[in-house]
Symmetry: C2
Subunit: 393 residues, 2 copies
Amino acid sequence: MKLQVPGFVAGAVAAGLKKDGKNDLGIIFSEVPACAAGVFTTNQVQAAPVLLDKERIKSGRCQAIVANSGNANACTGRQGIEDAEAVARAAATALRIPEELVLVASTGVIGQPLDVSAIGAAMPKLAGHLSPAGLYDLAQALMTTDTFPKTASKQGRISDKTFTVAAVAKGAGMILPDMATMLCFVCTDIGAEPDLLGQALKDAVAASFNTITVDGDTSTNDTVLVLANGLSGLNLKVAACAATFQKTLNEALFTLALQIVRDGEGATKLVSIRVKRASNQGDARQVAYTVAHSPLVKTALFGEDANWGRIMAAVGRAGVRINPDTIDIYFDDVCMVKNGQGCGREAEAAAVRVLKTDRFTITIDLKLGSEGATVHTCDLSTDYVRINANYRS
Amino acid sequence: MKLQVPGFVAGAVAAGLKKDGKNDLGIIFSEVPACAAGVFTTNQVQAAPVLLDKERIKSGRCQAIVANSGNANACTGRQGIEDAEAVARAAATALRIPEELVLVASTGVIGQPLDVSAIGAAMPKLAGHLSPAGLYDLAQALMTTDTFPKTASKQGRISDKTFTVAAVAKGAGMILPDMATMLCFVCTDIGAEPDLLGQALKDAVAASFNTITVDGDTSTNDTVLVLANGLSGLNLKVAACAATFQKTLNEALFTLALQIVRDGEGATKLVSIRVKRASNQGDARQVAYTVAHSPLVKTALFGEDANWGRIMAAVGRAGVRINPDTIDIYFDDVCMVKNGQGCGREAEAAAVRVLKTDRFTITIDLKLGSEGATVHTCDLSTDYVRINANYRS
């Protein structure tokens, strides 16, 4: 699938915000004003671009997104808001569209003033070189500690018409449920009203980005935006379209979510933690996240050590009622723990074979009820520490 | 202060539980039956020795503690309980005291059967070589990933009489509020009834071990035991004694708690996170722990990077109401953030000088109310990951 959608162009340039001279500024432009919806960080400390977008998106319309890496424009006070507005204004001028149809996003270091004049200087060149294939360049320009750009493209078909969903994302560390240093922009040519589009986005985020975790930290800048320009001739208000679009959007965002975990800072493994037969869904999620966030579990995964005792200990401190004597734990199909006790050396040897792969599932069967939950995480490596200890230097 | 208390003897031997042949089995023995109290892990997965001790300590009496490292005897089912009882029985026989006056404790790998016959074989030699100065040997025998034994000794005086509190502990990783892979044994010659002694211990634990965190994990084995043999002629039921004893006990346990954080796996810095002017104490603790557990904050501390944005982000996701625009952040006396915004390059340079020390305080002033809380934590280093990835291998 090509990463492009009828009616959308994009591109990126180096504005000088990244020290290494790589591309750090990008635009997505819809040739016609699009219907827009967004989901933003739940962190109470919110970056200036988040505050600005939350206001602007109330109109339900947007024609361009400007995004930069290298600076988060967070904890920058009133000046930060003015800087975000100035970036939007520069893009609007270069693109010849109304200022209020521009949304902005930033990622990078917190607490430094944004270099607005560098961005302004780069804007004409950027706006002059947008292309239908430019979404990939934009994805690259968003990268901070990411090691590869995250992209997804899916199509849906309703009778003889086809719509496309193309999405890009960035995010490596600081990823947690309810999102985290994560930007995601979705372009689609479906037609929509803001309310339906917003609900579809919310549902897709719940089933994708909100089921992953890298380190349990959340960011001040998380933003997921969707622009729908209607050029496919299909519209969300038709029930069949809505169902197909939701499925397609879910798949696109889930693909991106797994790419983000796989690219977790220093990660060597993508591990799904699946909790079965909990008393209720809240409990299931709570247990899954407690295991997924446990530094002791995550370092054991890195060390390829089938140390299931650490999983038991994490389950036991999750803050939900459990019965240690009914718990089974599986590494893929290998039963490591039966009714709270280890299954012996042979099982351990088989589990180590699973651990040596880079993608597996740990299943925790609580045998208390009928609800379940799955979260996707990665291991905690020496490289995670190295990357984060030296991020700004 | 010598690490010894009138009427107590202790010692340690190598029973062969540790692969490296170091001491791994120890006893504390009170020459007269002592009043006893304990605090145990809140983890719902509880090791066999914890389950046994919780029953036995209901009598309020104890004469000996047997502790081993190298094996946690956790997730070992009915056999684990029988093994813990067998260890106590072997000690009781060797010490010629009633079996029910022996408490047990274990630390090490979870889920492996305890080698009871090795312990039984080592018991006569151990019981035959106890001495008043043996508490230090015991502290050494408890070590797993610890790099030094933790000990504390304090005296209190009431008119012409003196009492002593000597305590030993182990614990490096997995340390969190409400305790964690942590054993602590306190010997004192104060006289006491179980209720008063238990309350004093609870209060001291709340003010010491429950204010520290290394990695947010808690263990199946945490145990704090206090034995009070009354030989000082002083008794807790006298109000003046109770106050002095509480102060002395608090100091001893707080000293041990800081030693545990300082010896956090791979830790290079001991950092206190102090939250001021929160709306209430629960909020203050919540914010302090969220910052203290944040992997991004902890790796920045390791990297000596004054990345206050990560602290702001952690405060913002702590789940309590805050106002980002009133927050001040200090590194010792250096103001890094004033009303939610950075204080500039000079402040940052001064903060880096603080960060280069191995002991400092980060103060977060929320300016919302009048309550505060302090927790003590350490940085997250590449060695933490290395130690925990390879723990069992």
